[in-house]
């Protein structure tokens, strides 16, 4: 009668065939496969100490023997990781903890990371310098080593989907079902899928509590190191190698179960890990003592914070807002007007930062209520269209308030320039400040200020999400009719979400105005090549994971940093965005960092295997949306 019994019936059917089989992709004796894997790892490691090319023309100096540099470091790290995880998978005493699930899948994925980065390097050298003749023997050794490693890993008993039943019919292929070759390929692909998400791992929460905290600190420090290393890469070639290793490597570590164990630890020591995370974030401008990267950091924090505000509206309440960046603009313009800039119509007025921040928040909140009150009676697509319209109206109005087309408030397209730097408790954020051996430049100061605001927004988000009002937001997202029948005043609750999201964007906007020194109408559009636009923010939320705290921040960071580092991408940036979103929606609809709830929603058939209930379901209450 309804879809619910059907859904349970489907789950029951799906639950019956969630077996797993362990079979190699390349049939070879087990010892041979293990030997090839380890030998490949050793060869790859050794190759990085050799010279890969004759000339220093290739980015990063790969000509030095005995000292890995540039992309060789990527191969070195990936190969070492593959080697030790492989030893763990083979049960070597003392290294087993590196592969808690004992699945060779992690070895295969890490080998893939090694192969990817090594071959990318070798081919890139050949392409950039004109032919394989430019390779030194070391390059060939690396090429072969990575291949041997990957071939060996393919020979390991990989955990994957069970064999398709004989004579099964594949209606989803439609008219292609006639062609035997297509069906064979399809079956092969289905059988080739890795299957390790439900492998059991030892419970990390049984460790000594102090050891748990030590592990958290070490992992966060490593994370900071990895992050700063990636940001400090000078060439897009090296950054691509880095991306391959990090992305595939994380996938591999997920297969090994290490990430699951780390999640258990952070979940157990939630407050402690949050504190360590903040400390790591504070440490960033000190570790990366360079104004350019501090600038990148503050930009990422701003777009991340705004994306988090959008997440309240889109992720929690389920209102698709396509004009959200307007609220950032309102906050920025409000702050600029009271900043004391000589281009402001109130050039004599200079508010202290706290007052400017409140002004920006209140202005954005008022604007949010004004836009929300008439539009929030609409549902779904209608709301999306109307918010899109209002977002564009904001930009056009601001362009026209120049004294010619309308009253002179915003100086039209010229914007408000020369916004003076902030001063907080006599600490001028525009100056360099020396702290011991570190120098905090202008952007580092703003980074720290923005970090404070991000922490506030994260607190507001988590606390609001786990409360009466947050539950009513989620209820409205799930089923608005049922929610109103439970006594929730849908309009009011939605308006609160809309206004809160707008205020948080306005707060971020006040800092944004000061960081960029000037505000102009152009960035506040629906979509464009410069980051703070509505499409970018929405993409950050969807890519990172709707309804989570870390998702939108991570999504914003990726979307901001990757185009920044890959300069050749600049022409195709929007295309790449679209492609990334389509791929994410197809293969990981819950986003990079899944909300526990949404993960259950999308992967029910995999997770509901009898006896394999996911930990989010019945062992830990999914109380906070951002857990």
């Amino acid at each position: 009668m309804t879809d619910i019994p059907l859904a349970t019936a489907e789950a029951a059917v799906a639950g019956t065939d969630t077996g797993r089989r362990a079979a190699p992709y390349l049939p070879m004796p087990r010892t041979a496969a293990r030997a090839a894997t380890l030998a490949g790892a050793v060869i790859s490691i050794a190759s990085t100490f050799m010279s890969w090319t004759y000339t220093t023309d290739f980015p990063g100096d790969l000509t030095v023997s005995g000292y890995p540099g540039g992309l060789q470091i990527m191969t070195l790290i990936a190969a070492i990781l593959t080697g030790v995880v492989a030893l763990g998978a083979f049960g070597t005493p003392g290294l087993r903890w590196l592969n808690p699930s004992r699945s060779p899948n992690s070895v295969l994925l890490l080998a893939l990371a090694t192969l990817g980065t090594t071959w990318y390097t070798v081919i890139d050298i050949a392409a950039k310098l004109g032919g394989f003749a430019n390779l030194d023997p070391g390059g060939f050794v690396a090429f072969i080593g990575a291949l041997v490693l990957f071939a060996g890993a393919l020979g390991l008993p990989i955990d994957r989907r069970p064999q398709e039943p004989a004579g099964a019919e594949y209606y989803e292929l439609g008219r292609f079902e006639k062609y035997a070759a297509v069906v064979r390929t399809y079956v092969w692909l289905r059988e080739a899928r890795l299957h390790h998400s439900d492998l059991r791992v030892a419970d990390a929460r049984k460790l000594n509590p102090w050891l748990q905290r030590l592990v958290i600190v070490v992992v966060y420090a490593l994370g900071l190191k990895i992050l700063t290393f990636g940001l400090a890469t000078d060439y897009s070639d090296i950054f691509i190698g880095y991306l391959i290793v990090v992305a595939v490597g994380f996938w591999g570590l997920g297969a090994s179960g290490l990430l699951k164990q780390f999640q258990q630890l952070t979940h157990r020591n939630r407050r402690f890990s949050a504190t360590v995370g903040v400390i790591a974030a504070i440490a960033y401008p000190f570790v990366q003592n360079n104004e350019h990267w501090a600038n990148l950091g503050v930009s990422v924090l701003i777009v991340g914070t705004v994306a988090l505000g959008l997440n309240i509206v889109v992720g929690l309440t389920g209102l698709l807002d396509l004009g959200y960046v307007a609220f950032l603009g309102v906050g920025a313009y409000a702050a600029a007007l009271v900043s004391g800039s000589q281009f402001s119509i109130w050039s004599g007025v200079q508010f202290p930062f706290w007052a400017a921040a409140i002004t920006g928040m209140v202005a954005a909140c008022v604007f949010g209520v004004l836009i929300g009150a008439p539009t929030l009676r609409l549902r779904g697509d209608y709301l999306a269209i109307v918010t899109l319209g209002f977002g564009e109206i904001f930009r056009i109005v601001v362009r026209n308030l120049d004294g010619v087309s309308g009253p002179k408030i915003t100086n039209g397209p010229n914007g408000i320039a020369q916004i003076p730097d902030l001063s907080v408790f006599g600490y001028n954020l525009g100056d360099n400040h020396s702290m011991g051996s570190f120098t905090l430049g202008r952007f580092a100061n703003y980074y720290l200020l923005m970090l404070l605001i991000t922490v506030i927004v994260v607190l507001v988000f988590t606390r609001a999400a786990d409360s009466r009002i947050g539950r009513s937001w989620i209820a409205i997202r799930e089923d608005e009719t049922a929610a109103t029948a439970m006594g929730i005043n849908g309009f009011r609750v939605k308006l609160v979400a809309f206004a809160l999201g707008a205020s948080l964007a306005g707060l971020a906007g006040t800092v944004f105005a000061h960081v960029t020194n000037s505000v102009v109408p152009d960035p506040y559009q629906f979509s464009g090549p410069v980051p703070p636009n509505s499409a970018f923010l929405l993409a950050a939320v969807v890519l990172g994971g709707m309804g989570t705290v870390s998702g939108p921040i991570l999504g914003a960071a990726l979307l901001y940093v990757i185009p920044e580092k890959l300069d050749f991408l600049s022409k195709y940036e929007l295309f790449a965005f679209g492609l990334a979103l389509v791929l994410i929606m197809r293969f990981r609809p819950e986003g990079i960092i899944p909300n526990r709830r949404r993960q259950l929603e999308f992967h029910e058939d995999e997770e509901l295997a009898p006896g394999n209930r996911p930990m989010g379901d019945d062992t830990v209450p999914a109380a906070t949306a951002g857990a």
Partner: protein, 309 residues
């Protein structure tokens, strides 16, 4: 299942014979279609009233008029003497809770969170208090959770408090809907086909649950196609046919009413041999809907969804 409902101070508990809900002259038209035609119905305190009728008779539409999901074209609905505004959240606030014919849980929230959402009208904590998290917030949150757990124990779902609602089996989803409705501390509970799709044991359990709710002093108005369930349960039964109330009265009166039988089985042929005039009416209402108990009132659902937009 426990049959002791947790004691809860009901606001101004109505006397047993005092009229709780009074719908008078409710008319609901959708364009040219009159779905509900001048229906009046009274539910007294402590009473279980049944509402039956063939598919498409307008039962769910009438329910939607009572709970404010539809604005009746004409007529008024009053609760404890005050006329209800046609807004669902104000109706719930006043003390009328409902369940839905096609289960409408918050599928991706946990069982406990579903019940906590039901507590919405009985708690006051707003956004500011959620962000500041003063002692009052923690106290209210703890009280809400305790009350929600009591209700889950009452409905036998306490062990599954942390499961996602969508992962519950069908019968338990129905129970959870009732628990969620009870969380708003209603004086009157409206159940829309609570046993649809249930097996006899589950139906029996639901019957006990409804009695236990009644014993708590909560009046119940229930739509159902299962005649045995209705006639076991209800003090009074009203029959809707084609939007009009045909008859209202005790089980016997309704069971023996020829118009009801005609509505379910059709008019007898002219000259049909009247072989067993006594046996037929007794069985008729029971067997008629049993043939297609799951065949829901499709046109009504469509209307409802249209209206939701």
């Amino acid at each position: 299942m426990t049959t002791t409902i947790p004691q809860q101070p009901t606001p101004a508990s109505a006397g047993p014979k005092q009229a709780l809900l009074e719908a008078s002259g409710v008319i609901m038209r959708f364009g040219g279609l009159t779905a509900v035609r001048d229906v009046s119905l009274t539910v007294n305190g402590g009473e279980i009233v049944g509402l039956i009728g063939p598919n498409g008779a307008g039962k769910t539409t009438f329910f939607n008029c009572l709970t404010g999901l539809y604005v009746p074209t004409e007529g008024t609905v009053s609760y404890r003497g005050t006329v209800l505004p046609p807004k669902p959240h104000l109706v719930t606030q006043a003390g009328i809770a409902r369940t839905f014919q096609n289960i409408r849980l918050f599928a991706n929230m946990t069982v406990l969170e579903n019940v906590l959402v039901g507590r919405h009208t009985r708690t006051r904590e707003g956004l500011f208090s959620a962000i500041v998290r003063g002692p009052g917030f923690h106290r209210a949150e703890r009280a809400s959770r305790e009350r929600a757990m009591e209700l889950l124990e009452f409905t036998g779902l306490a062990a599954k408090a942390d499961h996602l609602a969508r992962n519950l089996p069908y019968g338990e989803q129905r129970k959870l809907e009732i628990a969620r409705a009870l969380a708003s501390e209603p004086g009157l509970l409206l159940l829309d086909e609570p046993t649809a799709g249930m097996n006899p044991q589950e139906t029996r359990a639901t019957e006990e649950l409804v009695f236990a709710i009644r014993d708590q002093g909560i009046a119940v108005l229930v739509i159902e196609h299962d005649m045995r369930f209705i006639f076991n349960l209800c003090d009074r039964v009203a029959v809707l046919v084609q939007g009009e109330k045909l008859v209202e009265g005790s089980s016997e009166v309704v069971q023996n009413d020829e118009r009801v039988i005609a509505a379910y089985l059709g008019e007898p042929f002219e000259g049909t041999p009247q072989s067993a005039p006594e046996a037929a009416p007794a069985d008729a209402p029971e067997s008629a809907p049993a043939g297609a108990p799951d065949d829901d009132e499709a046109p009504e659902n469509d209307e409802q969804q249209e209206n939701d937009k």
